[in-house]
């Protein structure tokens, strides 16, 4: 038995506890370096091509523009890793913006209360998507496509005939400038990353997204877990919405339009699998930075928004192609 296992195994056991955390770090770096290299390369390209692009201000504005969408995309990352899909987060974003706007402008509630109401509303809408999906077994694409239009309608009804602007100064602090949104973005990414890698529920997202049936047979409560992942997606969409309402100093139901697509694009460009089971928020941050660098860089080169959209579209397809190509055939 001994000779046999020795000859047929790829590695010979060398148990050592000290190398473990280093191994994990090395492993994560190997997974992320390609997208990181792509980001640096894209940044350097624009750096060479455009002189005004070379300023620190530009770099900060890339981070600043990325931050709100990146927060939303952290939620999308969790949902996609678990093998789910939520197309309605852009509309959840709109509803939360309007709700927070009403709470502040019409009811003059304290900022903290308005924020908590907004976050709770986002989490509720996300959880509702998940609940409908796991119990009706209607595909996530359809449930959340329905959510996309339904929540949008709710946002319009809530906002109609209301002037949702001129919020208290303490609220405007949240989204103004680059520093606060960036800090919140990194904090959200850190917490979401810790959730995915360190907690039981977070680890189950990879299991459920990788092979739902194995997870179920192993005793994972797949339905309950899925509802939580959608709830996190809604919660982070709400966080992003609150920052944007604060930044703009007004709320309107048209905000958030196609944000879900930008988020999915960033997640996929970063290297999280659209098919579930693989990915992480670090990748998503890089993916979002790649997208914003391209958008900002192209504008500095005088390329209009229409061509920027074409460029992003092509990159999304390439990113998914890469995901399909490297995935082993089942």
């Amino acid at each position: 038995m001994t000779d046999m296992t020795q000859s047929s195994s790829t590695q010979i056991s060398t148990p050592s506890a000290t190398s473990s955390s280093f191994d994990i770090l090395r492993h994560q770096f190997l997974q992320i370096w390609q997208v990181l290299a792509a980001l640096v390369l894209i940044y350097l390209t624009f750096f060479v091509l455009s002189e005004p692009f070379r300023s620190l201000d530009t770099l900060l504005s890339i981070f600043g523009q990325a931050s709100i969408l990146a927060i939303l995309a952290c939620g999308t990352t969790v949902v996609l890793i678990s093998g789910g899909l939520d197309l309605s987060v852009g509309s959840i974003f709109a509803v939360v913006g309007v709700i927070v706007g009403i709470a502040l402008a019409e009811y003059q509630l304290p900022v903290i209360v308005a924020v908590v109401i907004g976050l709770a509303a986002g989490a509720f809408m996300g959880a509702l998507n998940g609940t409908i999906q796991v119990f009706t077994k209607v595909p996530a694409f359809i449930v959340t496509l329905g959510g996309l239009t339904a929540y949008k309608g709710i946002a319009e009804i809530l906002a109609s005939g209301r002037d949702l602007s001129r919020f208290p100064e303490s609220f405007q602090m949240l989204g103004s400038g680059y520093l606060v949104p960036m800090t919140i973005m990194f904090a959200v990414a850190l917490v979401t990353g810790l959730f995915l890698t360190k907690t039981q529920l977070g680890n189950h997202a990879f299991a459920v997204g990788g092979n739902e049936e194995v997870a179920r047979l192993s005793g994972v409560n797949v339905r309950k877990s899925r509802i939580y992942y959608y709830m996190i997606g809604g919660l982070l969409a709400a966080t992003a919405a609150i920052l944007e309402v604060s930044k703009l100093n007004f709320a309107m139901p048209a905000r958030g339009q196609s944000y879900e697509l930008f988020a999915i694009a960033a997640v996929v460009i970063g290297g999280t699998s659209l098919f579930g089971g693989r990915g992480g928020v670090g990748k998503t941050l890089i993916g979002m930075l790649i997208m914003q660098t391209i958008i900002v860089g192209l504008s500095y080169l005088g390329v209009g928004t229409s061509v920027q959209r074409i460029a992003i579209g092509i990159i999304i397809i390439l990113a998914v192609y890469w995901d399909v190509w490297r995935r082993p055939t089942r």
């Binding site: 047929s8 195994s9 056991s13 148990p15 907690t199 990788g210 005793g219």
Partner: protein, 259 residues
């Protein structure tokens, strides 16, 4: 182990049936598993082997039948309940999640949480402890997989099966149920897997094993039950039966005298 212990019935199922609408997949099958034995379940494709195991472990809802463990009736309606009464199952093709590391696969659904405040509040996991337990177990079972942080898909079929079997040793309190543990394995890897199955006995587990390999039945099993068209065709001690008779019982050319 005394003779008396060896004959002790640990699991007993009576009248197990499963119908899908009008289609009968399993009809009135009885099963007895004795302490410390390896019981083979053989039969042609569609004979009801997988259905029997799934009904027994709560992976599918059975239409009729009762299950007793140590003479006490137990209700197993989900894989979680099966685990709670001490039954570990290795399903064919459904043993491991490709995307998860060996550690995460071994402990999937039963992760060890940290004892500190983070563990209690957020359910953070104690990977160091899980790694240590796996390394100790792999050493005991002579499974040579060093890189337990790598995803399961990086390993060969034999190594994956070894991990799945190790999982039954780690968590199986009484009974291991194996659905074709050597399917899709080469000759050498099959031998490795079957040696592991054999060692399950040493770890106090009684084993039910579906197999298509008559040689494995002869070399590794104590008793064999034959299913044909969803019904129990025969149960024999392996020492009282030869390969040809067994094939005859499977295909129906030999009728069971005892029945």
């Amino acid at each position: 182990m005394t003779k008396q212990d060896a004959d002790k019935i640990i699991l007993q199922a009576r009248g197990l049936s499963k119908r899908y609408g009008g289609v009968v997949a399993l009809e009135d099958v009885d099963l007895e598993l004795r302490q410390g034995e390896v019981l083979a379940v053989v039969g042609d494709n569609g004979a009801g082997k997988s259905t029997l195991i799934k009904a027994l472990t709560g992976a599918i809802a059975k239409t009729a039948g009762r299950v007793e463990i140590d003479g006490q009736e137990v209700h197993i309606d989900s894989p979680t309940q099966a685990k709670a009464v001490g039954i570990e199952t290795v399903y064919q093709d459904l043993a491991l999640v490709d995307e998860l590391s060996i550690t995460k696969n071994m402990f999937l659904g039963r992760e060890i949480k940290r004892k500190d405040v983070f563990g209690r509040l957020f359910g953070t996991l104690d990977f160091a402890k899980m790694d240590t337990e796996i390394r100790a177990l792999f050493q005991k079972l002579d499974i040579r997989i060093a890189d337990i942080y790598r995803e399961a898909e990086a390993f060969s079929g034999g190594q994956r099966q070894a991990v799945a079997l190790a999982k039954t040793v780690m968590f199986g309190k009484r009974i291991a149920i194996l659905d074709e543990p050597t399917a899709a394995l080469g000759v050498r890897e099959s031998k490795m897997a079957m040696d592991l199955v054999n060692s399950l006995k040493d770890h106090g587990l009684s084993v039910i094993m579906i197999t298509h390999n008559m040689q494995h039945v002869m070399n590794y099993c104590d008793r064999v039950m034959v299913l044909r068209l969803g019904r129990l065709a025969a149960v024999r001690d392996v020492k009282d039966v030869d390969g040809d008779t067994l094939v005859g019982l499977i295909t129906g050319t030999v009728e069971d005298k005892a029945a």
